[in-house]
Symmetry: D2
Subunit: 352 residues, 4 copies
């Protein structure tokens, strides 16, 4: 009953197999391996973006920070949601890579910005006023940190606001696959067709060992990106092992199957939770995460029995009356089983 | 006949097996996995350093840059050899992580500093003079970039100079194992007993997929290091895959066997090269790299037949008379075979 | 009728005279001038802080940024008021000098934080959680950007919250003198006795040409501060001209007289404004700035007649109906005259 | 007998008078003062550069660092002379403002690079090789740190090398005026006509209180420069006092007269020194600085009598035999008198 995070899961068997397969013999290092050529071609095809520059790094913080630094000068403002990973969970990595910068928080329910709130936030940064940081880039997250999903139309509306101000858009897609299978949109519609300029395309949380692609739909800054990656210590030496993961991930739609499995388990888990006595939803469930409240006594019982997940927000606690509702985050991954969901359901429903 | 670099090699079978083995089930992320506890204990034992703080990252540039930044303030001077990897091959990563700083080059034959040259370089940075960068840290490399090896006594003499000035010492040990098996010293003698404060302990070039340990013999700055690692994007999410590599690497002295194999192949290769007509050594061969000159015509023949290695230095060229000597770097790795060495020998000896 | 800012004023005659007087002959450069020794002694006496380290720089952005960088590591959080100068008016200078960092905004009415809001903000930064920036320093502003003043007791209460969390406190005292004469407290009570660790002690806005002192009540980081000042380009070459300003400023309580004059003019201006038809206060007036609303028509008339001041906030506009109230900021300085106040009063009261 | 530095001198009377004159009344702040408009026009005229962007800061370290940062990305190489002020005397300020970067030292006699040495240095930075810092900008110094002067032709030849590689050129002109009057060239010939893109135009060392202009002959990066200046804390608040200095400095060729006086005193001082028994020149004297050796006993006598200057290099010492030659640097400024030179001559010639 592991629902703590999608990064406590292992590597999908197809991806482990690909790592073993690519291990034979010598291969050029530092991204010049033939597998990287195949990966580049696959990503361009998946995204219908034949000109895109594609790079691999090994986690999301890196993909995000390098992307933002590529588009934000040291005196720039990055507009992000209040609860964005770049703001809360990266120990100031974006500011480190940017060499300063300022993350400007945009409020919004359920982890999502509205076009109006974004417009207000950007507008509040004085333009051409030397005493202020300067408007630089908008970053969106899909799947959001609240487990909700922007539709292609919602993304387009937000990107349109960025474009009103002439700003580029970054998309943190650590859970891009989960968002994609939650909608009927294509990868292109969920990225550049909506107005996204640079994408962190996640693999790690969805069954890879540790790989994310950064996709620059406009390749103008590709060389700068390569230099930033190298000097950040993020140019993998034996690069074939990043390539192999991403190649396997994209082959035969493995990435979509893994994400669909995760989302399906979350759907089942949500049903199990919300039917428990005293339960209530915190945010709409739209991908692979469930945010909901349960009476504290039920959390205690589940955790005592080995269920692993986090109360939400960070400062929530198990101390207090049994019947008081306490909210929590439950994450399903590509390898969450129906049995785990059922076992958890039994616990919180009190069916011992 | 691959002698271009030790990073064109693959992953040793024992390490691939460990990755597969650790893949089952869930594991805590971000370095809290049980395998990391085992790795920490093993490294402390190998280095006879029960208090050392140990962290894993996935390449040498990162290990070096984080180490230097931990000991060098933004206005500090780092003393390194003229040809150090940190100076020539990291695209300014040390300066990025330090937030400025200045690498001060110490000259020396065969990739090695002498105590006198180091003392002169440190002494030339004015002390307590606010207009100058301030003396901060000495960084040594063993195996050096010229393929030579500092003995424990030589390391001690250099560290003693650093200590004269109260400076800490970093050791870039991307090829630490190759240096170790080239001497009769222990890991402790080749590091903290000689005066090294922080060590980049290489795995990648010696049969790992991508992992280096950073060993802080004085753990006082451990938490700072953790924060620097995170904000640099170098805290691996599914960390068990770094741990598993390092665990297998250290198990049953695999790391020493791999390094010994590489060094032995280099010994054979050196003999083959130096017995070729017109050949001469460039630097003493003491680990897994051979630097030597061959008549240009012999390079041409070898390369035409598929031998892969780099002329040295970077701007050397195949253009010119056949009988003119041109130097080159030949690297052997854990997986270089005797057959490869023999085939190359045949080529350059003209035994078709 | 100049009420735009206290930095449109010139230099007080006593200070200009001191600059001329110190011009004769040669003087040691870079802060080793005898006048600096006198300044150091005077500031230590004024603040009853015989151990304090004292440095001069030439503007407030610099004093603040160097101070924060001295106490905040690159991965640290700086707690400041929503409207703090460091957040809104320094183009990201604090983040530049810190080498990253994150300014965390603390809300509060009338430009002032409450202890509760500060405690909440600090508490919301997870402690010892490597994914988050780390709690580093609290910065307060007195006189605040809203023209209000923290009493010594209020400062103490805020500093006490910082100390609960073990955090040092910086005080942005660009208008320290105006705050001081507005209370009955001593310089020590308004700084280190309240818990302030490092102070930007303003001179420029209060009659100097361009000089601020940074006072480190704990001199432990004095040498680091000197290096940061130098590498920021802020070690003045012909330093005697900074010293002379500060010396004259502190001589015979000139600084207090200048601030008292400014505050008195603001008191008169406030009375004149608030007695105008349709006027209302925006914030309590406690030092040399008046924030108040007037019917738009009265602003138009005043500005047309040459009165110079800013509507508040930045996006307020003169466009719209005459009788609609629009707020504005009016700043008095050491050289504002009663005649200017009277002339302005006549305009807005419609006494032509 | 003050020959320690040109920054121990005071402010020229014409410049002090201008500061007093501009003090009356109110003036717009932050560079929008009318005097700045006049300064911009004057500099454009002096340099025959009607499109140039012109900014004022208050010292040379700042002018240099901001200039280099504007043209050098964080992963860039700056080519400078071994003994350049940016390398030796700015505590890493260029690296701070650049956000990393690497200063690559170009050797050369008498403080001057040759085109060949510059070409070699640039060529040694591998091009398009992601592991290396990238060629970014060349910085020259005129008057050099050795007191020698590049002619316009020499500057042109060096800039031509930079242009071969497509690199922009910065000129550190802290002593630009001294170089100019030492040749028959025009300001334009000594800057943009030779190929200089951005100039630190010094005032402080030549009679100003503390002001340098940065001249961007190509104004494309003007706004970026303004933002960098602000976030570095270098946008002067009461800016009129920078403008007034520069305006007076340029009025009626004051700057040229002051520099000519300094150079003339140095010519006289050189003659006095070199005619002393046991004296010999260290570098050719071409502007306002004399580098020469004297027997140690003569230094002792001069210093004991109150002569103030520095032995050269930093680690030279008065300890040792009387007749041993020791070299020193002697700097004349706009206010050095013939009487000072004569008094010093008498001392070292032993005419008591």
């Amino acid at each position: 009953m592991e629902f703590a995070s999608d990064n406590t899961s292992g590597t999908a068997p197809e991806i482990m197999a690909a790592l073993s397969a690519i291990n034979a013999g010598y291969a050029p290092s530092y991204g010049t391996d033939p597998a990287m050529d195949r990966v580049r071609a696959m990503i361009r095809e998946v995204f219908e973006a034949p000109e895109a520059a594609v790079y691999l790094v090994n986690n999301g913080t890196t993909a995000n920070s390098l992307s933002l630094a590529t588009y934000c000068p040291p005196w720039g403002a990055v507009y992000c949601h209040d609860t964005a990973h770049v703001e809360l969970d990266e120990c100031g990595a974006p500011e480190f890579f940017i060499g300063g910068g300022k993350l400007v928080k945009v409020p919004g329910e359920h982890g999502k910005m509205t076009p109006g709130a974004l417009r207000t936030a950007i507008g509040a940064t004085p333009q051409g006023f030397v005493h202020s940081v300067q408007r630089a880039v908008v970053t969106l997250t899909n799947t959001t940190e609240a487990g909700t999903v922007y539709s292609a139309a919602e993304l387009s509306a937000l990107c349109a606001v960025a474009k009103e101000f002439g700003l580029p858009v970054h998309l943190d897609g650590a859970r891009f696959a989960n968002a994609l299978v939650s909608t009927n949109a294509s990868p292109a519609e969920m990225s550049w067709k909506a107005g996204v300029d640079i994408l962190s395309f996640g693999g790690t949380k969805n069954g890879c060992m540790g790989v994310e692609a950064v996709v620059l739909f406009d390749p103008a800054k590709a060389w700068e990106f390569e230099l930033r990656r190298k000097r950040g210590g993020h140019l993998f030496s034996k690069h074939r092992y990043l390539s192999a993961q991403m190649e396997a991930y994209l082959t035969d739609d493995l990435w979509l199957r893994l994400a669909r499995d995760a989302n399906n388990r979350a759907t089942e888990l949500e049903a199990a939770i919300l039917s428990a006595p005293g339960a209530s939803p915190l945010y709409p469930r739209e991908a692979n995460m469930v945010f909901a409240s349960l009476p504290r006594g039920r959390h205690r019982r589940a955790m005592a029995a080995g269920a692993h997940y986090y109360l939400w927000p960070h400062d929530a606690t198990l101390d207090g009356p049994d019947d008081q509702p306490v909210s929590a985050r439950f994450v399903c991954s590509w390898c969450t089983t129906e049995a785990e969901v059922d076992a958890f359901a039994a616990l919180i429903h009190g069916r011992d």
